[in-house]
Subunit: 352 residues, 2 copies
C-alpha cells in the first residue's frame, strides 16, 4: 500500500469549500485503491496574511517541503487588494512556491465539452467544432524572474531564457503531444524578441527527436486571434511564462467553464502543485454553490503526475464525467441546477 503526504492549502474564498470535496473524493479513492493519503492543512494566501502575517508563512513552506505534493485551493480577495503587489495573496504565495520547488512546468488543459458547448462564449458554428488544447507554460523563467528595478523616472524588467530552460519545457510539450494529437504550436514573438528567436531555435531542435509530432510556430498576437477564430486547430500550445499566462486564461474563457478546469505545476522530480484554473470567487464564497470539479480534477492530476497512480486518476475523471452526463453539476454549469458544492462532491465520491 502506497502512502502519500499531501499538503492541503485551501486558501481564501471558495478554496476551503471546494477543497473539502476534493478531500472527500480522495478518501473514496482510498477505499477503492491500495492508496493512503496523509493530508495536512496549512495557511496560505489571504488567510495566512491574516493568521500569520504573510501569504506564505515558514510553517507552510516547511509542510510543503515534507510533502509529496501540494493540493492548492485558491487565494485572494478584496480584503487584500490594497497591499503592495509582492505581498498580495496570489503573487506572494504562488511565485515563491514555484521558485522554491522549481515548478517549471505548468499544464493547463482547456476543453469545450461537446455536451456543454453552450457554456462557451463562442458562436455555435465555432464551439460546435470543439476545442481540446493543453497549454504547456514555462513557469520559473522569463520576465517573471529576470532582473527588474526602478529608477526615479523609469522602471525596467528583463526577460532572460537559457537553452536549458527552453529545452526542458519543450520536451514536456512534445511528450504530451505524443499522447495526444501529435501537434505542437510554439508561441513566440520572434519578429521582435531575441528570447523568442532562441526559443524558436531550441524548440525546432527538440522537435527533431519527435518526428511524429507536427511543429508549428505562431506569433503571440496571431495566436490570441486564432484561438478565438478556430480553437479546434490546436493540440498542444507551448508558451513561455508571460505568453502562457495570457493564453491559458484566454483558453479558459473560450472553454467557458472555469469551474471545470484543473492545472498542474511540476518540477523535474515528480513534485507538483495542483490547483483549479479559476480564482477564489469571493462573491459566491460560503454559499455552498461553488463548483468543486476543477479542484477534484486537480487531485486527479496529482495522482497522475506526482504519484504515478494512473488508474486512480482515471477513476476520478470518469466519475466526474458521469456526474456531468447525469447533470449533477452546480449552477455555473446549469443555471437551473438544484445541486450544491457538497452534492457534486458526494456524487463524484459515490461514483468511484
Amino acid at each position: 500500500q502506497s502512502n502519500y503526504k499531501v499538503a492541503i492549502l485551501s486558501g481564501d474564498g471558495i478554496g476551503p469549500e471546494v477543497m473539502a470535496e476534493a478531500i472527500k473524493v480522495l478518501r473514496a479513492v482510498e477505499q477503492r485503491f491500495a492508496i493512503k493519503f496523509t493530508m495536512q492543512e496549512a495557511l496560505i494566501g489571504g488567510a495566512a496574511i491574516d493568521g500569520a502575517g504573510q501569504p506564505l508563512p515558514p510553517q507552510t513552506l516547511s509542510l510543503c517541503q515534507q510533502s509529496d505534493a501540494i493540493l492548492f485551493g485558491s487565494v485572494g480577495g478584496p480584503k487584500w487588494t490594497g497591499l503592495a503587489p509582492d505581498q498580495q495573496p496570489e503573487r506572494g504565495s504562488l511565485l515563491p512556491l514555484r521558485k522554491t520547488f522549481d515548478l517549471f512546468c505548468n499544464l493547463r488543459p482547456g476543453q469545450i465539452y461537446p455536451a456543454f458547448a453552450e457554456l462557451s462564449p463562442l458562436h455555435p458554428r465555432v464551439s460546435s467544432l470543439g476545442m481540446d488544447v493543453l497549454c504547456v507554460r514555462e513557469l520559473t523563467g522569463g520576465i517573471y524572474f529576470g532582473e527588474k528595478g526602478r529608477g526615479d523616472d523609469s522602471a525596467f524588467d528583463t526577460q532572460t531564457y537559457s537553452k536549458a530552460e527552453i529545452s526542458r519545457i519543450a520536451k514536456v510539450a512534445f511528450e504530451a503531444a505524443m499522447k495526444r494529437n501529435r501537434k505542437v504550436t510554439s508561441i513566440d514573438k520572434a519578429n521582435v524578441l531575441q528570447t523568442s528567436i532562441l526559443w524558436r531555435e531550441v524548440v525546432t531542435e527538440i522537435a527533431k527527436d519527435y518526428p511524429e509530432v507536427e511543429l508549428e510556430h505562431m506569433y503571440i498576437d496571431n495566436a490570441a486571434m486564432q484561438l478565438i477564430r478556430s480553437p479546434q486547430q490546436f493540440d498542444v500550445l507551448l508558451c513561455d511564462n508571460l505568453f502562457g499566462d495570457i493564453l491559458s486564461d484566454e483558453i479558459a474563457a473560450i472553454a467557458g467553464s472555469l469551474g471545470l478546469l484543473p492545472s498542474a505545476s511540476l518540477n523535474g522530480s515528480g513534485f507538483g502543485l495542483y490547483e483549479p484554473a479559476g480564482g477564489s470567487a469571493p462573491d459566491i464564497a460560503g454559499q455552498g454553490i461553488a463548483n468543486p470539479i476543477a479542484q477534484i480534477l486537480s487531485a486527479a492530476l496529482m495522482l497522475r503526475y506526482s504519484f504515478g497512480q494512473e488508474a486512480a486518476a482515471v477513476a476520478i475523471e470518469q466519475a466526474v464525467q458521469q456526474c456531468l452526463e447525469q447533470g449533477i453539476v452546480t449552477r455555473d454549469i446549469q443555471p437551473d441546477s438544484r445541486y450544491g458544492t457538497a452534492d457534486v462532491g458526494d456524487a463524484v465520491a459515490a461514483a468511484i
Copy 2:
C-alpha cells in the same frame, strides 16, 4: 484650398488592390471638399526587398519625410518568411518607421457592428450586446525597443518605460475617452512587472486631470479573458506596446471583421501612418475580392488626425456606413456577395 502630401506605400498581397480604392475615395473627397492630395508611391515590405534589396529603402524613407502622412497598405507573404526576423517585410518596415517618426501612439478601434454581429465568432448572447472599444497602444517603447542580446546559451530582452513615455500615451487615452464613453481600462501585469507598477502609478496620476473619466486597472491575463466573456464592458483600453499588440489582435478577432478595421499610428506633431488592421492576405491577392473598407477607413483617420479635416473624414465614414447598410460589401462580410474590391470602392466614392 489645402494641399496635403501623402506617401502611398501599398506593399504586398492585397495591399495594391485595396490602396487603389482608397485613392479613388480620396479623389472623390477632392471633388467635394476644398482639399487637394499630392500622392506619391514608393516601395515597401516584400516588394521593396525584391525591388530595392531592403524592406524600407532610403528613397521610401525620404519620401515619407517629405510627406504630411503615410498611407500604408500591408506587407509580407510566404515569399519572404525565410529571411532573418529583422529583415522580414513586416518587422523590417514597420518598426523603423515607428521609431524614425516617433509614432508612439497606435489607435485601433474595434467594433461589433450591430448589423453584422453574425460576423463575430462570439455567441449571439454575447455579440448581441455589442462591442465598441478603442485600443490605445504605446508603440515606440517597452520590450520592443529595449536592450536585447544573445549569449552562447541564452538570450535577453529588456522592457523599460519612463514616466514621460507612459504619461504621453495615457493622456491620449483619456482624451479619447472624453469623446467616447468616459471609461479607461489600463492594462498591466503590476503583480509581476516593475514597469507595470510604474505604469499604474503614472496612469493613476494622469487620471486626476480627467475626473469625468472612470479609470480601471486590469491585469493582462484577466483582460484577455474578459474581452471574450463580455467585450461590451470596455470603452478605451490603454496598453503598453506588447500587451497592446496582443489585445488589439484579440479585439480584431472578436469583431470578426478584419476587413473593416483601420488603424492610426501617430506622433506628437500630427504626423501619422495609417493602415488596415488586417494583413496582406496573399491567399486572395490579385483576385479582386479583397475588402477595401479598412484601407478606406484608414484614409478617413488620416484626414481626421493628421490633417484636421473632420468633415471629410466623417463624409468617408458615412459613405462606408451607407455601403454596409446597402449590402455593397465583399464576400468576407457577406459570403454570397457579388461585389468585388472595385465595386465597393466605386460605391463609397459615389456616396461622397
